[in-house]
């Protein structure tokens, strides 16, 4: 009995409010109620549409131009978009522009040129990696021998990144500066990089953890027990040669035919 009274007492404070609300609603025009329902529906629909449009940004529609400092990314960017030769300086921020691929479909996506300087690289890769549909890794073929460890480390960092290994973008390694006589061929660069990545797999996994306890990425490249080869990766990797400056100097055409063909196949 007392429980019942308690329950009633609990309901009672709400009861008058509910009654009042019901009376109010009944008093009003039905149009008013319809108006409320429609506005609620509009809000819900707009939320859904907003989510759809926002999420469409993370749909991979960008091709990133990455590489070490001075490898020729900005000049390649200019050549791909306008075909002109432009003097360049070290980039401080990224540049992006829409690019029309040279294939029958005429698909167009965004070409993004990221700065290559060591202190800026990680931030910009972090920002754009999830939107990448393909990554063009530009390598300076002329001074490759001196820089092989730095190139390999950056490539390793890219390949073991969690977002990249999840999205599996198409990787093109463009061996740039082929107009210089001492430039190494794409095949040689591929072999050297494979050897270097082999060593890096060991040293990187033995590296110290960070001070806040967050472990590094646990992605293991290639197959355990076997030497590393680019064909073992889940993503498609292609090595090609190009020359952004072109063999005829500043006024001539750039030698980027193979790069354009690969980009057209995306």
């Amino acid at each position: 009995m007392e429980d019942n009274r308690d329950v009633e007492a609990g309901e009672n404070p709400f009861q008058p409010y509910l009654d009042a609300l019901r009376k109010e609603l009944e008093h009003q025009d039905p149009i008013f109620i319809i108006g409320i329902i429609i506005s609620l529906a509009v809000v819900v629909i707009s939320f859904v549409l907003l989510k759809y449009f926002l999420s469409s940004k993370t749909v991979q529609s960008a091709v990133l131009l990455v590489g070490l400092c001075d490898s020729g990314k900005t000049l390649l960017f200019s050549r791909l978009l306008s075909g002109k030769f432009k003097k360049t300086q070290t980039s401080i921020t990224d540049s992006s522009a829409p690019y029309k691929a040279k294939n029958e479909k005429g698909s167009s996506w965004t070409l993004i040129d990221l700065p290559g300087h060591d202190s800026l690289r990680p931030q910009y890769v972090e920002k754009f990696k999830s939107a990448a549909r393909a990554i063009v890794f530009v390598v300076d073929s002329a001074i490759f021998q001196k820089e092989v460890r730095d190139v390999a480390e950056f490539l390793y960092f890219l390949l073991t990144d969690s977002a990249v290994s999840r999205n599996v973008p198409y990787l093109i390694v463009a061996c740039n500066k082929q107009d210089i006589t001492m430039a190494k061929s794409a095949k040689l660069i591929q072999q050297q990089l494979e050897k270097e990545m082999n060593t890096l797999r060991v040293t990187r996994s033995a590296a110290l953890g960070t001070q806040d306890g967050s472990a590094g990425s646990s992605v293991y490249l290639g197959k355990k027990g076997k030497d590393f080869e680019f064909s073992q990766l889940p993503m498609k990797v292609e090595f090609l040669e190009c020359s952004a400056r072109g063999s005829k100097g500043e006024n001539g055409q750039a030698d980027i035919g193979s790069l354009e063909k690969s980009l057209a196949n995306l």
């Binding site: 900005t74 960017f77 200019s78 978009l81 306008s82 002109k84 432009k86 003097k87 360049t88 300086q89 070290t90 980039s91 401080i92 921020t93 990224d94 540049s95 992006s96 522009a97 829409p98 040129d113 700065p115 300087h117 060591d118 202190s119 800026l120 690289r121 990680p122 931030q123 460890r149 730095d150 480390e153 060593t199 890096l200 040293t203 990187r204 033995a206 590296a207 110290l208 953890g209 960070t210 001070q211 806040d212 967050s214």
Partner: protein, 606 residues
Amino acid sequence: MLDFFTIFSKGGIVLWCFQGTGVTESFTGPVNALIRSVILQERSGNNSYSHDALSLKYKLDNEFELVFVVGFQKILTLTYVDKFIDDVQLHFRDRYKNELEQKGALALLNSHFAFEDDFKMLLREAEESSKARGPTSMRSFNASLKSQKTVKSMIETKGGDKGKEQGGKKNKNAKKEGKGEKAKAPTSAQKTEENGNQGLTQEEIIQKKREEFIRKRMGAPVEKPSKSPKPVKEKPKGKEKRVWTLGGSSTKELDYSQSNGNGAHAAGDQGLDRGRGGGRRCCREGGMFGMLKGLVGSKSLSQEDMEPVLDKMRDHLIAKNVAAEIASQLCDSVAKKLEGKVMGTFTTVASTVKGALQDSLVQILQPKRRVDILRDVLEARSQRRPFVITFCGVNGVGKSTNLAKISFWLIENGFTVLIAACDTFRAGAVEQLRTHQRRLNSLHPPQDHGGRPIVQLYEKGYGKDAAGIAMEAIAYARNQAFDVVLVDTAGRMQDNTPLMTALAKLIAVNMPDLVLFVGEALVGNEAVDQLVKFNQALADHSMSDKPRLIDGIVLTKFDTIDDKVGAAISMTYITGQPIVFVGTGQTYNDLRSLNARAVVGALMKA
């Protein structure tokens, strides 16, 4: 006279360039050096930089993301350069507003900027204006005021303007009186009247004085116009109070409570307060919708907008143990980077500034070169030479302890280590290292490594020359095919010149692969002094023209600070070198590497 002038976008595309006549070498090298050492290292506080024989001045345009750089020979002192850059910037912006406003790099790539003529005109104007303000030549006698005065007016100056000496004590006194009375405005009027009287006849003088008398009777009946006692009376009054420019006449000027109160108020609350403050300002101006105008719409940042936020951020950084001058340099650099930038909608000044500061802090902490010790050791091993690491630092920062931790990590990865005991000064230093060696060998017994102990100690007791011991240790390691040599040195204060010379000699003679400066995370402003003096000593006492400086930093005692991690910023900012190891405790396992994002997160946390 300029060597070159370039305008390029922050994305790296050169929009327009000018090369002075007779200049053959390309400017790409110096400009790249400017970008890498100044802009990317957040030293853009002062806008000039010197590279070899060239001096470079630059200006950032943050609204359109452009950089303007001018280069000229260092030996020339051109005074018009600063103003010239500003003029060129404004001119370029106005002329190419349409192309620059478009988003995306296509507009920059496709348009051709024919800026030659405007540039030449501006240059000519600047050069002429600097020539016009040439050294002022002395005036000739005829041009001076002295020749204008008649002789009569200069005689008998009872308090005239700059009484000219015509000889006589009377005039000298009169001059003194005149100078003293010049300051007293009401009386000087009377004096000049008297002066003017000299030229008139006696009757006219009496007439004038009668008129004066009547005027004064009307105006100031209290004051009895008497001329003769007046000049005598005014002499003591002539000595007027000295007004110190920096001292206030009253303490009212020293009362800053009002402005402080307002400042604290405006910058006190986070978030939307800036917008509300702007709204409050706008409310007075623009009515009801003015409040929203401060929040929405494109507003470009100016120095005054950022001032309170930057002050607050500077104090916050200093509270987090960043050295004071580093914090202020950082804030200046961020202000330079944001000046003129157009904010997006619904962004407040505080959030923009905070974001920019966060980005620049992460950028400073990112290493500027590859940091992978294991890989470098493997490389040295393939070249059949030992990899030499030297530890230096002041007393008591943890050199020996961290040396033991690093050797533990190395032997865990299968490298053989030789410890060189070059601390021949501190009591028990050699014994300490011997104990570490014994413990490490017991953890990794020699049976596992082909019968050879994995850690060995090379010591020659106390009192000997450290550089000699280091050289012998490296030779021994090369003979016995050790992979790594860790050289432990004695702690020394940065002001102690003989000890700093000894350290510099050790490093210059032995040419180690890595010179690590060990610094504790508890240090505050001292970090700046320590690092500067250490680097200075290493640079001064090395014989070669490419001296070995500090290559990396070991940050120790990181577990003792909670989130006052500012020492990391101070050290990397001063040297530009990365933090290679972080010591987080006193056992062998407490060795970590730096995570830039985590440190910056802890630093920016309220």
